[in-house]
């Protein structure tokens, strides 16, 4: 196993052994010391007793000078082999009788001082003999001390005891240690295992309830804490990595977007450059004809025949017209691009618009021998600017007629492929377009190889068409099969509100409109609130003939309210369907304001429903006029309103 175990055990064992050994030696030393001391005391008092007894028993012999009896008395000591020699001295100190074991030193001839002393490893006791208080002699005893032997034997016993007790202590200690060392070793094993395998889920067993148990508990607590923190760190790392991944992906995607945007910007830039160079070219071409023929006319004016000069002028006029068209269209496109085009989105019945288109296109189609067929019975209604929608349709149909094959046909149809969407398709039987041509179709001045063809064109029409459709919230596309023909389609938002059938306006006798101004009266003021520019232009054109009317125009309801307060017009014309503030709301506000309450308001709206007209009149409108506008009715209404206003004043 690990080197820890033997070391700890060995140290514990060493401590136990050393402690036992020291305790043993201290105990043995104390015992031996005590024993030796008491042995000495005992032996001394033993000898003194013997000397006393000897003295008493030999006292008569001494007193009556009987050496024989004294010697006999001494000889009894042979029964006590530890006494090596003995002697009796008379009162005068002279040797009286003596005894000695073989090989021992004989007693000295003269008595020595009384007392106990050691001499050459033997114990010597000299004791006086008294009889009735008189000193009658002395006893001398010489006995082996035997202390050294005793010490040696004690040493032997001590060594034997030490070996025995150490052995027993070792066995006991080894057994008892296991109870202490085993839990510590278990903790140590777990600790090493944790370090080796980095497995913080391990736990040390708690075997006891003492300090080692507390150690195991603390250790386990620390492990749990480490485990928790490790998991936290891992989780944080994962989160961090995920975040880094997300950020990297975001960065890549935004890089990609940036790259695309850059590419798009570059492309747009290139397109703009190409557009400018194309425009320059397109503008120069007719100018070239104008200037060239103009110079010819200037130089050959004397020589040229009249027919020839007529031809030159015709060329100049034609080129000038083409240039005019070109400039108009470019300006149109520029206005669209700059966002200066105003659109008035309202429900439009497709059938009406298509009928108008057919009327306009039929002469050209017939002239070219192209059969144009309009599917004008679908009754679809779309949300669009009526004028722009007609422009779009005219462009598409005129293209289809222009670039058709001789004797070909054009079909215009509408359908509803998806809910709330209406699709208008213009199908021709021309040469069709290759895919790369389709891709370049909506680029300015790109006439797809028709530049040298017989048809005049600017190459801007489709671009304008596309922009207009986009402005009306629709989409435009083309499907084409080369050799068979193309199919242009426009998708617009369907409208739920059925529009008033748009009948051809009966303008009536417009000359009557320019009636003589009312004599001696200042021109009356009329405020027209309308967001649709076409409608504004129409009214503007109608009233231009009337000198007695001054027209004020407002683009929306709010402006209209402000102008009504500021200008105090005599009459107000109010459209209903306007952004931010409807005509109805504006009219009620005007009625609430005392400064404007007396001004008569004439409704001029596309909503021809009788209920709406009745509700409006009930709300205080002076008259209810519907689009398309009847100029005569408008004039009558204006005159009536003026009369009322004058009367009120």
């Amino acid at each position: 196993m690990s080197p820890f175990k033997p070391s700890l055990q060995r140290r514990l064992l060493g401590v136990t052994m050393l402690t036992s050994l020291v305790a043993l030696f201290v105990a043995l030393g104390a015992m031996v010391g005590y024993d030796l001391h008491s042995h000495h005391q005992d032996w001394v008092s033993d000898l003194q007793t013997q000397a006393e007894l000897l003295g008493r028993s030999t006292a008569p012999a001494l007193e009556f000078d009987d050496h024989k009896v004294a010697s006999e008395n001494l000889a009894v000591l042979r029964l006590q082999p530890k006494i090596r020699a003995a002697a009796l001295y008379g009162a005068d100190g002279a040797l009286f009788a003596s005894y000695a074991t073989p090989g021992s030193t004989v007693a000295p001839p003269r008595v020595e001082a009384a007392g106990v002393r050691r001499s050459g490893g033997d114990l010597v006791v000299v004791q006086p003999i008294n009889q009735d208080g008189r000193l009658i002699g002395s006893v001398h005893l010489r006995a082996e001390y035997a202390l050294v032997d005793r010490v040696l034997s004690y040493l032997g016993i001590a060594v034997a005891l030490a070996v025995l007790s150490l052995g027993v202590a070792m066995l006991l200690s080894l057994r008892l240690q296991r109870a202490i060392v085993q839990p510590i070793l278990a903790i140590s094993d777990v600790a090493q295992d944790v370090m080796r395998r980095q497995d913080y889920s391990r736990r040390a067993p708690k075997a006891t309830d003492d300090e080692v148990g507390a150690l195991a508990d603390s250790f386990n607590g620390m492990l749990a804490e480490i485990e928790r923190r490790t998991q936290q760190v891992l989780r944080l790392n994962e989160e961090l990595e995920a975040r880094v991944r997300d950020r990297t992906a975001q960065l890549e995607s935004s890089n990609e977007e940036l790259r695309l945007a850059t590419a798009a910007a570059e492309k747009a830039n290139r397109a703009k450059s190409e557009f400018l160079s194309s425009m320059s070219h397109e503008l120069r071409t007719p100018l070239n004809a104008i200037i060239g023929f103009g110079q010819l006319l200037g130089t050959d004016v004397t020589t040229a025949r009249p027919e020839r000069r007529q031809e030159f002028v015709a060329h100049i006029v034609s080129a000038g017209q083409h240039l005019l068209t070109l400039i108009n269209e470019i300006l149109n496109l520029a206005r669209i691009e700059a966002g200066h085009v105003e659109l008035s989105l309202e429900p439009v019945l497709l059938d009406e618009v298509m009928a108008e288109c057919r009327q306009m296109m039929e002469p050209t189609a017939v002239q070219r021998g192209i059969a144009v067929q309009f599917d004008a019975t679908s009754c679809h209604c779309v949300l669009a600017d009526r004028m722009r929608l007609k422009q779009v349709l005219l462009n598409l149909v005129s293209n289809a007629v222009k670039y058709n094959r001789p004797g070909g046909s054009v079909t215009v149809a509408c359908s509803s492929p998806r809910p709330a969407r209406v699709r208008i398709e213009v199908r021709d039987t021309g040469r069709g377009l290759a895919p790369e041509q389709v891709a370049a179709l909506f680029q300015p001045f790109n006439r797809l190889g028709q530049e040298g063809g017989p048809e005049q064109g600017t190459g801007i029409g489709l671009v304008v068409t596309q922009r207009l459709v986009a402005l009306m919230g629709g989409s435009i596309g083309v499907d084409s099969v080369p050799g068979e023909g193309s199919r242009f389609w426009v998708e617009l938002q369907a409208s739920e509100l059925p529009a008033q059938p748009h009948v051809q306006t009966d303008w009536g006798d417009l000359s009557s409109l320019s009636a003589a101004p009312r004599a001696g009266a200042a021109p009356a003021t009329v405020l027209y609130v309308e967001d649709n520019p076409a409608s504004r232009h129409l009214v503007e054109a109608l009233l231009a003939a009337r000198q007695d009317w001054r027209l004020l125009l407002a683009h929306d309801g709010r402006t209209g309210l402000a102008m009504a307060v500021a200008e105090r017009p005599d009459v107000i014309l109010m459209d209903n369907n306007m952004p931010t503030l409807s005509g109805r709301e504006a009219q009620s506000l005007l009625k609430l304001d005392p400064r404007t309450a007396r001004i008569p308001v004439i409704a001029l709206t596309a909503n021809a429903m009788p209920e709406a007209a009745a509700a409006s009149l009930a709300a205080g409108y002076f008259r209810y006029l519907t689009k398309p506008l009847n100029p005569a009715k408008l004039m009558t209404a204006l005159d009536d309103a003026l009369k009322l206003a004058r009367a009120r004043r």
């Binding site: 007193e63 000078d65 050496h67 010697s71 208080g133």
Partner: protein, 194 residues
């Protein structure tokens, strides 16, 4: 035996001294009481003074405390003088020892010990008879076998030129005296031992 155990120079000196003592003793004895040998009677006086310590006297015999221990000596004046000298240094049972020279025919009164010298041996029976039944230790120096009459309690003999003594127990016992076993241990002979 003891002499044999001694180293040879000491033995020679002792032997010379003892032979001189013996020669002196025989001379005195031959002198027939004209003057007892000093050395012999010195020893005997010392012995007699010490006997008292080895004998249990009946309680009233020694009298009140402080009363002297009295020894009567029936002998020549020199011997009595020797006794007196010895008694001066001796004590019996913590009492001083007094020596009284007895005249011939004088009845021994108030004595604890009566010593009859060899020269006065003719008066032995008379003395013994006088103290019979009383706690008085009788000491004689009769020749062994010579006594046919009343026996003394202790009788000195000279053996190998050394003063020894024999003890006869019955008269002592009859007199109420108990002689210590230790004294018996050093006697040459003890008669009447039960």
């Amino acid at each position: 035996m003891v002499i044999a155990a001694l180293p040879s120079p000491a033995r020679r000196t002792l032997l010379l001294a003892l032979s001189a003592l013996a020669a002196l003793g025989t001379a005195r004895a031959a002198d027939d009481g004209a003057g007892d040998g000093d050395a012999e009677y010195q020893v005997k006086a010392a012995f007699v003074c010490k006997f008292g310590n080895y004998i249990d006297w009946p309680a009233p015999a020694l009298g009140a405390a402080g009363e002297p221990f009295r020894i009567g000596v029936l002998a020549s004046g020199a011997v009595a003088e020797e006794f007196r000298r010895m008694a001066g240094a001796a004590s019996v049972a913590g009492r001083p020892v007094e020596v009284k020279q007895l005249a011939r025919g004088e009845a021994p009164q108030g004595l604890h010990v009566v010593f009859v010298s060899r020269a006065m041996s003719g008066h032995v029976d008379e003395v013994i008879a006088a103290v019979q039944g009383r706690p008085v230790l009788t000491v004689t120096e009769l020749d062994p076998g010579a006594s046919t009459g009343m026996a003394s309690m202790i009788n000195f003999v000279v053996v190998d030129d050394k003063v020894r003594f024999d003890i006869v127990l019955p008269p002592a016992t009859q007199s109420g005296l108990r002689i210590s076993v230790r004294l018996l241990g050093v006697a040459r002979r003890v008669e009447g031992r039960p």
